[in-house]
């Protein structure tokens, strides 16, 4: 949803436009719903308190995603020292509906995929989350991370290659 260059826009407009993607990105970095809410709130508070306003909603979006991503990774770093990451995933748990074989396999796939994504090196994980969950294009990801579009392309490719290796080690139901 491209909102273009605006001269004046309200805080609520930015919030409505950016919150969905922000929450998705943060959640997929830390995988805790309540904390994800807190970190998104923190990012918006910092945005509200910024002295120098940004020129457009898009620039605000990039700024907010950048800040929220850093908050999320910092949180994860602190948390990983405290608890075992794999245990956390099991607790987080996806509700397994006791019906079709397909559903059970799908849930298992999701857990394995989440674990595989979690274990990617940070720079590959970041671009992958921004692309597949944040649904941002290469240009937007480049602006958020302050890297070139070419670099984004390379990292996404390498992330996929690494994931493919991890996922194909296990027997998985491929959709």
């Amino acid at each position: 949803m491209d909102v273009g260059e605006d001269q004046s826009y309200t805080f609520k407009e930015v919030y409505d436009a950016v919150f969905p993607v922000l929450y998705k990105v943060v959640y997929h970095i830390i995988r805790e719903k309540t904390i994800a809410e807190d970190l998104c709130q923190e990012a918006f508070i910092r945005y509200y308190n910024k002295r120098i306003p940004l020129p457009s909603i898009n620039e605000s979006r990039y700024w907010l995603i950048r800040v929220a991503k850093n908050l999320a990774f910092n949180y994860r770093k602190r948390k990983v020292r405290e608890t075992n990451a794999v245990d956390k995933l099991k607790q987080e748990g996806v509700k397994v509906q006791p019906d079709t074989q397909d559903n059970i396999l799908k849930e298992e796939t999701i857990t394995v995929v989440k674990k595989a994504v979690d274990n990617l090196p940070v720079k590959y994980r970041t671009v992958l989350i921004l692309k597949e969950y944040g649904e941002l294009n290469y240009k937007e990801i480049a602006k958020i991370l302050h890297i070139s579009e070419n670099n984004v392309k390379i990292r996404i490719y390498r992330a996929r290659v690494l994931l493919e290796k991890k996922l194909n080690r296990d027997d998985l139901h491929v959709f």
């Binding site: 120098i52 700024w63 950048r66 890297i147 070139s148 070419n150």
Partner: protein
Amino acid sequence: MLQSDNLIKKIFVVVSLFLFHNLVYGVDINDALKYLEENSLNIKTITRVVDEQGLTIWNANMSKITISGKSVKVKLQGVNILVITDITPYIRYDNTILLVSQGEVWIGSSESDEMNHYSTIKSLPVSMGESALFFPLGVIKAVDRKIYNIELEIQVNPNNRDSGE
């Protein structure tokens, strides 16, 4: 016939140098340089000599491409003075710039045989495209006689080819 032979030779030399450069240094260097170029900053300075009325009697423009943390030096030489200004831009994650200005002034009088050396360091947060002024000699206070002063206007912009969003 001889002229076109020479031209062809020149083109051949240029092309093979280019290829050689690429071969020797490889794609890696070019990729790295291209990446740096995409993240580089353009520092523009306008040096002005201003009189006590505030009128500009002389100015010089300079523009240099650098990266965050790499300084640009402006050297100004006069009859009795040498001003060296070292400007370093630091880009922050919210795209604002911390500008650090280090000034050295070697100054003497054409009459005496003494020379002084002054040094200063100042930092200032600015936005992209916002102008900052550096006065290495300070600002003129007395306006009852003819005095000249030096001011440096500094502006930092991202080094993008496409100015659009």
